[in-house]
Symmetry: C2
């Protein structure tokens, strides 16, 4: 990782008089000027891209709980040290490990054809090769109507529709129902296995994996397989032609007991109120099919690079800036929950939190959920970000990112720098989530926005925290 | 296939006075008017799309020599009969069968990661699991310099560059060298296996298969595997970081003896000079990874639909229009060679030939290679096609399409309706060559151009044939 150290030498900032003209306003001129210089420096820097290139190349895919995720923690720790963070630590936790195993999947009637599929997270193995007739359901609602035992000895296939591409990712939650709960209905019908149309907006021959939901603390007891959108189209056409279909399936995915995961924590210690924490981050784990460039190597890179640029200022901001590389996000926000639990007594000092976990395209909107008296500062941040094409959105928008949910639930204030998600669900959880999908200039815009926003939040006296409800 | 018959009923043409005003000019007004009506009818018809949808859905992938290709011949015959062609036949031939088998491929050092690869056509199986160090070659020229025995016990990886996207597919021939002849150099080095960067312009996690070249009538004796462009990028980055790499590989692809293939021939018999043949077509076989929608279901559909629309005219054109669905194109133009051989004595009556085999995007150019005295008619055809956005290109351009090569070599005149190939090498020979990639409106533009051009050529007295050299 030597090259990262080398590259950061070039980006030391020239601003030397931070807070020299501090006055009574919510943010002073020098702070604004420093934030603007951070934007300019970030736009010229390729540090963010270097970080995500290093993570995806030197570590590769990083399934939650795997040996690869452990190597990623070592990578994150080394990166934090090389970049000169003041404190670097790893906080481990235990989790149940689900392994994808191997899948063989093909259409066997009306003719032999390979199907491109992958097991969904939490799926059980097939006890032996399953070769069974397919029962077609147009959508999850049709499957929900299935009677007990109605699918005995069959493979259920639940179709659906291609997700519409959108800036916000609208439609994911709804489409995701077939992935999340389809298995419960297939099991009620006593199906041997379930296939679902992938949840994605692309028309490429890639399945989209992702976690299923538990039901009464139980995981699926049958194989559950997502197939690519073109494969789902194909089965739909055969169904519409009235062709009986059968599928052969063999899957070894299964739960494999407790393992270790962990969060990597990099701190820039505040110069005046170090106990107050502005938390940013992404998640270090990825699904195993791609190399987790967009989800969420990008988020790790954006937030780490932003903090690293701030660290080159002559003086640390007043508050502590904490970068958390969360472990085991994909399998149920396990790292986020572990962090919230471990730091339970100190969450009152988490003055603001946000995560980057929606890809690597440009940021277009700043939303917040802070004490209303702090909104004028968020508005000031919005003005600094405006030349980056970022508009100020709502000021009562819950969120902050998936791994921030457990913190927000404990009253930690949040902002979010919303990224353009137009292409996100083309790549999401597929083998195609690789480094080539990231545009270095778009990534640099993200780093610029985080650097400016987080600097201004961390160097402020404004209290974002809301009174406890 | 009943739906095709139903749909064609709607497109019967209203022109009733063909050749009523025949005069001394190279093409008469009624012919021009009929050709223009064919264009309009074709643009409103979805017959082409219905054909390629039927082929890809009802037959699926169609590897040369396979049971699936046999089903495709039955499909083609039935289609020709339903569409009302005057003569429908299948001409079988024998060929050696290469089977892809199964491949397992992963990076094992510096860490475990699946690689997305596929065997190249003609590759040998691995005798057992191969787990070997990788020797990196920046391009095929570097591999060509390898000394005898230099790669003993190693897996060679020949990198290269992403093909530049272009309208014409320029760059394919050159890039293709690593796929065609790489194995000969790897074998000289005594490598255990060869991996090559896929020949394609996409950055998706799909390998591009394709045939290798024989050397002195011998095929490769080692496994030869194409890996996706993002995987090749990944190996390049690891190599550039100085990381030693090893790969585990197991492949069962192999030659399996002689089998049957065949060409399907659909004729509209000429009304005045039936012995003279205007030959059009596409190839019926496809690679097995996708469903052969773009390569070359589209070509079969475009040319069959164009002839079917012409068949709805009140009178057959003067010359015979022959649609050939060639077998076994992908593995060495075997159907084309069989056709040329079988019809050797009658090639003098093949007055013009052309194939559609470059995808499904719009046609932008008409080129020809005919008797110079026939150029004015080709120019007239160009004028009729002009409203479709088609320009007249060169008049001494050899070609006509891959399956026309053996005919052109025997002095059969050719034209070619060049398609926009900008996206062609994104999909070419990948699992992603599926129906969803075809835009029905672009396909209809192709049908319109073929219908008008072939009608005018077949209803003409102009002789396209050149004197024998």
């Amino acid at each position: 990782m030597q090259f990262i150290k080398y590259l950061t030498l070039g980006v030391a900032l020239s601003v030397g008089n931070i807070n020299a003209d501090a006055n009574e306003s919510i943010v002073d001129e020098t702070q604004i000027e420093t934030a603007k210089q951070l934007v300019q420096t970030a736009l010229k820097s390729d540090l963010g891209f270097q970080i995500v290139e290093s993570l995806t190349t030197e570590v590769g895919p990083r399934l939650a709980g795997s040996e690869a995720e452990k190597r990623a923690r070592a990578w994150g720790k080394e990166l934090g040290e090389e970049l000169g963070f003041d404190r670097v630590s790893v906080e481990e936790f235990t989790m149940p490990f689900w392994d994808r195993g191997e899948l063989e999947l093909s259409l066997t009637s009306p003719y032999q054809q390979a199907l491109y599929g992958t097991a969904l997270g939490g799926a059980a193995p097939s006890k032996k090769n399953i070769n069974a007739d397919v029962v077609y359901f147009r959508d999850i609602h049709a499957l929900m109507g299935v009677a007990e035992g109605q699918l005995k000895g069959k493979i259920a296939f639940v179709d659906g529709d291609l997700m519409v591409k959108s800036q916000t990712g609208a439609g994911y939650g709804q489409a995701n129902q077939r992935r999340r709960v389809g298995w419960q209905h297939a099991e009620r019908g006593k199906a041997s296995a379930l296939m679902v149309r992938s949840v994605g907006s692309d028309s490429h021959r890639f399945p989209h994996t992702g976690m299923m939901s538990k039901n009464d603390d139980k995981w699926a007891s049958i194989p559950v397989i997502a197939i690519s959108n073109p494969d789902a189209d194909h089965l739909r056409r055969l169904h519409n032609l009235g062709k009986p279909m059968s599928v052969e399936l063999s899957s070894s995915s299964k739960w494999k007991g407790e393992v270790n995961s962990g969060n990597v924590i990099l701190d820039l210690v505040g110069s005046e109120t170090p106990e107050e924490i502005v938390l940013i981050g992404g998640h270090l784990d990825s699904w195993d099919l791609g190399t987790g460039a967009v989800d969420d190597g990008a988020g790790v890179a954006i937030t780490t690079a932003a903090a690293a640029l701030i660290s080159k200022l002559p003086k640390r901001p007043k508050r502590t800036i904490r970068v958390v590389m969360f472990g085991a996000e994909e399998v149920g926000l396990l790292g986020a929950r572990a962090y919230a639990k471990k730091h339970e007594d100190n969450l009152k000092n988490h003055v603001l939190a946000t995560e980057s976990d929606f890809g690597a395209q440009t940021i277009w909107q700043l939303v917040s959920n802070v004490n209303s008296e702090a909104n004028p500062l968020i508005d000031e941040i919005g003005k600094v970000l405006s030349p980056l094409g970022i508009v100020r959105g709502g000021s009562e928008v819950p969120g902050g990112g998936p791994d921030i949910i457990p913190l927000a639930a404990k009253n930690v204030p949040t902002i979010r720098l919303n990224q353009n998600g137009m292409d996100y669900f083309d790549l999401h959880h597929t083998p195609d989530d690789t480094l080539d999908k990231i545009d270095p200039e778009e990534l640099a815009q993200n780093v610029a926005a985080y650097a400016a926003a987080i600097y201004l939040a961390a160097d402020s006296d404004v209290d974002f925290r809301k009174p406890l409800p």
